[in-house]
């Protein structure tokens, strides 16, 4: 079931909402749990047990760690215990807890690796050893890449003490499988989300309406812009060797627009659905195309994934003893700058490798991750040089033109990343990149732009849509809260805006005859 389909919007969601607000507050979380399970079973059938299994493991792990903690406290407060003994006990308890976390990580990531990457690794084994093991018939349970991260974060948070182990299995399960987030995130954290899910919210008219508005905005982004651009993009990337450089360039550009509109639109939809239940979910996008560097881009694009990798991969690795020593050694041998640079460079490698691999079981995704790693490292390495150059040229690094330059530079680098991401193979990506420069005949202005199943009107719609997204982005960058500001206007203006949005969705949306209901792009990861 897809959020933009009729079955969800006019059947599933209204029924769940009705039940949620009809039942007493105490039972409301039960509605969420039951509906989330139904949602899950409907899309994964018998394979729901894999998700249930993950939930059971993290639930048990949480309780185990709680028990270890309680035991430790009991022993600690025993009479006549010395400070040394206390320290020893603490170490013992920590080691035990570490073992639990390790087991959880191995079990759950093992599951993810097997199901998602099994055939990828098998293929590698076959090509290295010349064997011919046939590929496994594997099924990817809905949202496994997302909920595995979320589930593991719960265990690590309990280990770290940022949240307490939950004694109620239903609550843990709901945290893992809450239906709005299950398809493509946002990847939630237990301390922020679980409480909200469990608490029965009373009906808040204003919040509810705001949720509907956000959903509408998300649907427009997806159905008017992304689904339309997607038709052109998939046709271009299917036959890249026939296409002119200008078409390929447009294809990459439209893919960037498509992915942004689709993914951020889906997040608006998801957040809006959450708000209908009075639940605030984490932001996943913060106008990423206004970033001045690739590094900043990744803090504003798929925020919850970046945050997960930072908190559970990057920080632990770079704060480990091994790295502290490395950094000290580097300081002795290489001087300040490199001492600062090397440990981060090392830890970041893992972050980007995992980021790439997480997106899919293909070499191109790993290259995609490492591409950003290289760009970021080069940026860090050459930053002193950049400063010198701009100073020599008397360029004010805080001026507006320089800001615009940075934004465009970032945008181009991101588009290159998108090309790697979208092309069918690395060779295709490389070919397309070369062709953009070497085979550029400007066919885009000739009729061939229309040979990709999109009408000229469709391109106009996409262009207007992109400009609209840009304007909204600029306004939000300047601190405007558009939904609040619209809500303050009088009813004529307000309703004009709402109706206009609805009309645009119904009439210009790329659905129905001639447009297949496209899947959410990020749901396959």
């Amino acid at each position: 079931m897809n959020f933009k389909e009729n079955i969800f919007l006019i059947a599933f969601l209204p029924i769940v909402l009705l039940l949620y607000y009809i039942l007493p507050k105490k039972a409301r979380w039960g509605v969420l749990l039951a509906s989330s399970l139904i949602f899950y079973i409907l899309s994964s059938g018998i394979f729901t047990f894999i998700m249930l299994g993950t939930s059971v493991t993290i639930y048990v792990a949480g309780l185990l760690m709680q028990k270890i903690n309680d035991n430790f406290k009991k022993q600690k407060s025993a009479e006549g215990i010395t400070k040394e003994e206390k320290k020893l006990l603490k170490k013992k308890a920590t080691n035990k807890k570490k073992l639990v976390v390790l087991a959880i990580v191995i079990i759950n990531f093992g599951l993810l690796l097997t199901l998602k990457y099994g055939n990828f690794f098998l293929g590698m084994v076959n090509s290295i050893f010349g064997t011919a093991i046939p590929p496994l018939s594997l099924i990817l349970p809905l949202g496994i890449s997302f909920y595995t991260l979320q589930a593991v974060s719960y265990v690590i948070d309990v280990y770290r003490g940022t949240c307490k182990a939950d004694k109620n299995f239903g609550r843990v399960l709901l945290f893992v499988c809450f239906f709005p987030q299950i398809i493509e995130g946002p990847i939630g954290r237990y301390d922020k989300l679980a409480g909200q899910l469990y608490e029965g919210h009373s009906f808040d008219y204003d919040k509810f309406m705001k949720g509907l508005q956000l959903m509408l905005w998300g649907l427009i982004k997806i159905m008017v812009i992304a689904d339309r651009a997607g038709i052109f993009v998939s046709n271009v990337f299917e036959k890249i060797y026939d296409a002119d450089g200008s078409i390929l360039l447009l294809g990459v550009l439209l893919y960037t627009i498509q992915l942004y509109a689709d993914f951020s639109g889906c997040m608006d939809l998801v957040k809006g659905i959450g708000q209908l239940f009075g639940i605030e979910m984490a932001d996943n996008f913060k106008r990423p195309f206004f970033s001045t560097s690739v590094n900043e881009f990744w803090r504003r694009w798929h925020i919850t994934l970046g945050a997960w990798l930072r908190d559970y991969i990057f920080y632990p690795i770079s704060l480990s003893k091994f790295f502290a020593n490395l950094s000290a050694k580097a300081k002795k041998n290489f001087g300040d700058f490199l001492a600062k640079f090397l440990p981060s460079a090392f830890a970041l490698f893992f972050v980007w490798f995992i980021n790439g691999l997480w997106h899919g079981a293909e070499v191109k995704y790993i290259v995609y991750g490492l591409y950003y790693y290289v760009v970021m490292m080069l940026g860090l390495l050459f930053e002193p040089l950049f400063v010198k150059i701009t100073n020599a040229l008397h360029i004010n690094r805080k001026s507006k033109p320089y800001f615009v330059f940075q934004v465009i530079r970032t945008f181009l680098l991101v588009n290159l990343g998108m090309l790697i991401f979208r092309a069918n193979t690395l060779a295709d990506a490389w070919y397309a990149l070369c062709a953009i420069f070497s085979k550029f005949n400007g066919d885009i202005f000739a009729t061939s732009i229309l040979s990709y199943k999109l009408h000229i009107y469709d391109f106009i719609v996409i262009a207007i849509g992109a400009v609209a997204l840009f304007i909204v982005g600029v306004l939000q960058e300047r601190g405007h809260h558009l939904r609040d500001e619209i809500a303050k206007r009088n009813i004529v203006i307000r309703w004009t805006i709402y109706f206009a949005a609805l009309f645009i969705l119904v009439i210009v949306g790329a659905y129905g005859e001639g447009y297949r209901v496209a899947d959410f792009l990020y749901a396959q990861f």
Binding site: T162, E296, F314, Y315, L319, A324, S344
Partner: protein, 77 residues
């Protein structure tokens, strides 16, 4: 203590005025790798052990917050 922290900050990330700011993380002034070098400097300077749990925006958004965190860690020892 605040003064020393400011000194370390301007070493880690030159060219930024850190005084009085309360949005160092939220506004993206300090990126994650800045945090890492900052933490190792702070650990050395104040002889504390800032752990992963402490790496939340609330502890690094302002110089005052960092000082508060360090004091807390010193007390815990």
């Amino acid at each position: 203590m605040e003064k020393k922290i400011l000194e370390i900050l301007s070493e880690v990330k030159p060219g930024v005025d850190f005084e009085g700011r309360t949005d160092l993380i939220d506004a993206g002034v300090l990126a994650s790798f800045d945090i890492i070098s900052l933490v190792s400097e702070l650990n050395d300077e104040f002889d504390v052990e800032i752990s992963v749990v402490d790496l939340v925006p609330e502890n690094f958004n302002s110089v005052e917050a960092m000082a508060k965190m360090i004091k807390r860690l010193e007390d815990e020892d």
